[in-house]
Symmetry: none
Subunit: 197 residues, 4 copies
Amino acid sequence: MKQEDSPGTDPGKGGPRRPRRHDPARRTRVLDATLGVLVSDGAAGITHRKVAARADVPLGSVTYHFASLAELRAAAFARYVALRTEEFAAAFAEVRDRPGLLDALVAQVREATERRRSAVLGFELHLAALRDPGLRALTEEWTAASRAVLARFTGAVTASRLDALLEGLILRALLATTPEPEEETRAALSGVLGLPA
Amino acid sequence: MKQEDSPGTDPGKGGPRRPRRHDPARRTRVLDATLGVLVSDGAAGITHRKVAARADVPLGSVTYHFASLAELRAAAFARYVALRTEEFAAAFAEVRDRPGLLDALVAQVREATERRRSAVLGFELHLAALRDPGLRALTEEWTAASRAVLARFTGAVTASRLDALLEGLILRALLATTPEPEEETRAALSGVLGLPA
Amino acid sequence: MKQEDSPGTDPGKGGPRRPRRHDPARRTRVLDATLGVLVSDGAAGITHRKVAARADVPLGSVTYHFASLAELRAAAFARYVALRTEEFAAAFAEVRDRPGLLDALVAQVREATERRRSAVLGFELHLAALRDPGLRALTEEWTAASRAVLARFTGAVTASRLDALLEGLILRALLATTPEPEEETRAALSGVLGLPA
Amino acid sequence: MKQEDSPGTDPGKGGPRRPRRHDPARRTRVLDATLGVLVSDGAAGITHRKVAARADVPLGSVTYHFASLAELRAAAFARYVALRTEEFAAAFAEVRDRPGLLDALVAQVREATERRRSAVLGFELHLAALRDPGLRALTEEWTAASRAVLARFTGAVTASRLDALLEGLILRALLATTPEPEEETRAALSGVLGLPA
DNA sequence: AATGAATGAGTGTTCATTCAT
DNA sequence: TATGAATGAACACTCATTCAT
């Protein structure tokens, strides 16, 4: 909270100093840092200072690239949706039939508990959008993209049901202290898919 | 340490003054005010000041009854679960058969969009519990209570699926800009219940 | 910060409950607790709550027995002086000659570093009296009593010098990270006493 | 987040308004204000607000330059030691022989009662260091510097005794309601110096 | 006589934002 | 273009004190 020494000198304590100028990836690095803060501290825990520290950029750099906290938050959520949508599509890219689809869906639930990070971000976005209609477009886009991935195998109606159930299953899985057996997850999804349990 | 106005006088700005001592229901009123703030501003938006203003009690009264914000938040969530559990049970009290159950479930989704308040509180609790394991006991208790209500009609396994699907459907319904037709909701739930769509 | 259960019941968690009425030693217990807080947190760190907790009496009991914090502080200092004066006199009660006096004085310095508590209290009183003339009478009384003890062996003038040097030596001893050898302490006091080093 | 008055206008209540930006000496002014508060109210009486008011800077400026109160306090004490050490050295700069040294020492005691300010600061530092080992380095540095000044005339051993006695004499002088005659002070110091009284 | 609920001023600290450089 | 000093509102929390019981 005070720069005692001139920048560029004293490479000594506390990590690399900052001779950084011209840093084209900075915007992206700031957004990734923002997602990190979002996971740790929630949407309301995002502050310019925390983001700047995590991205290792000067405080002024954050306010320079993003006019307000709200803009920063929205941009970070948008980046999350872009990343997550791609990831989701990739998870189903190799799927060829219904049993394969079921496997992939079950894996989604399992992986959510293994890497809470992404799931927490998703719920943060949901809750933020519940309050801020400005984010609603983003959540709809996301939902539509997810359904489109699933609809390739099932048709729109079933895709929609699957998607809702998936959401509910992931939330339950994240909150459970004793995890449900994977067979039950599989059976629940099978039912909606019209497959034998 | 500085008495700006004599008590009882100056009803001028900002509403009625406060001759209130001895107020046994105060704790509860503070909790209800906290739930109100929670709905408006989210878990991180809870502040002693907002709660005090909404409950029409002095600031010190909030900190007196709840040693910390975390304690206040936890107590408010606990009150929500108690209220919501009772409400949920009541909604299924008159149900006698599977078609009746289906009606009641569909009504839950419909009502969530009509009275966002309670649904938002539920998701706030979920997200808070995702970060704070201390709240996990409360969410588990809540989930168990909800499943118990449903299990009366369906058995434990189906109740669990219904509960997860219900959660997902409600979230989707709350976030949708164009609401899904109620028939689709009904059909999705019917599938899990094993009823003809 | 809230008494959930009726007093007298629940002897369970957190130490003995409080069936205490009629407690004639309470005033004294409160004062001793105040001295404890004084040592830990300094004169400005005294609060009704800390004192009440340490004395295991209800908050109201402290304000009941002592009309204000200042009164409580003054009473605690007075108790300290009474205790310390007696202790000091006792330390010299068996002294019969100058060499014995020297030994006793050196012991005072040594013991100050061993039991910082009393020394810290003494300096707290000095500093408080520096600001609050109302405490000056107490410090003078204390100084006079100390000098009187020493004067029994040395006459008033030397007693006064000894007392001042003792104060300085104790302060230095308390603050030194590497303690001075006891021989040096002995030599310094010897000089004032007119004894061969 | 709320601009009550436009900057530069309203010179009305409470002194001149603040168009002050760019103020490189601000850190030092804040430290001097802190020493002022320290003298008036003691170490525990230091608050950001009192310091800000005394330095005539906004509250945020104090917290900006000093990350915590403890840091502010430590920096203020360090500044005091620097100033006081220089002053002490200056007081003995012209001393050429033992009688001159005695005069200078007696003057130190006399001046302490005349300008209590500095003496009080010294005792505040002692007491603070008694509790906070982090300040011990500062007090040791100070003691070493003082002894070094005196040792120029007397050798290390006598310097140490003189220093301790000086401390005790000053404390007694500050607390006495009826001041001791200067001759007694002189005699006490003479004894340690090995000069004829 | 004794208690603890109640109150609101005051604390340290964090922060979004502005702006001179 | 980019930075960080600067500002004041807001925050959680502590507290001396008052007062109804």
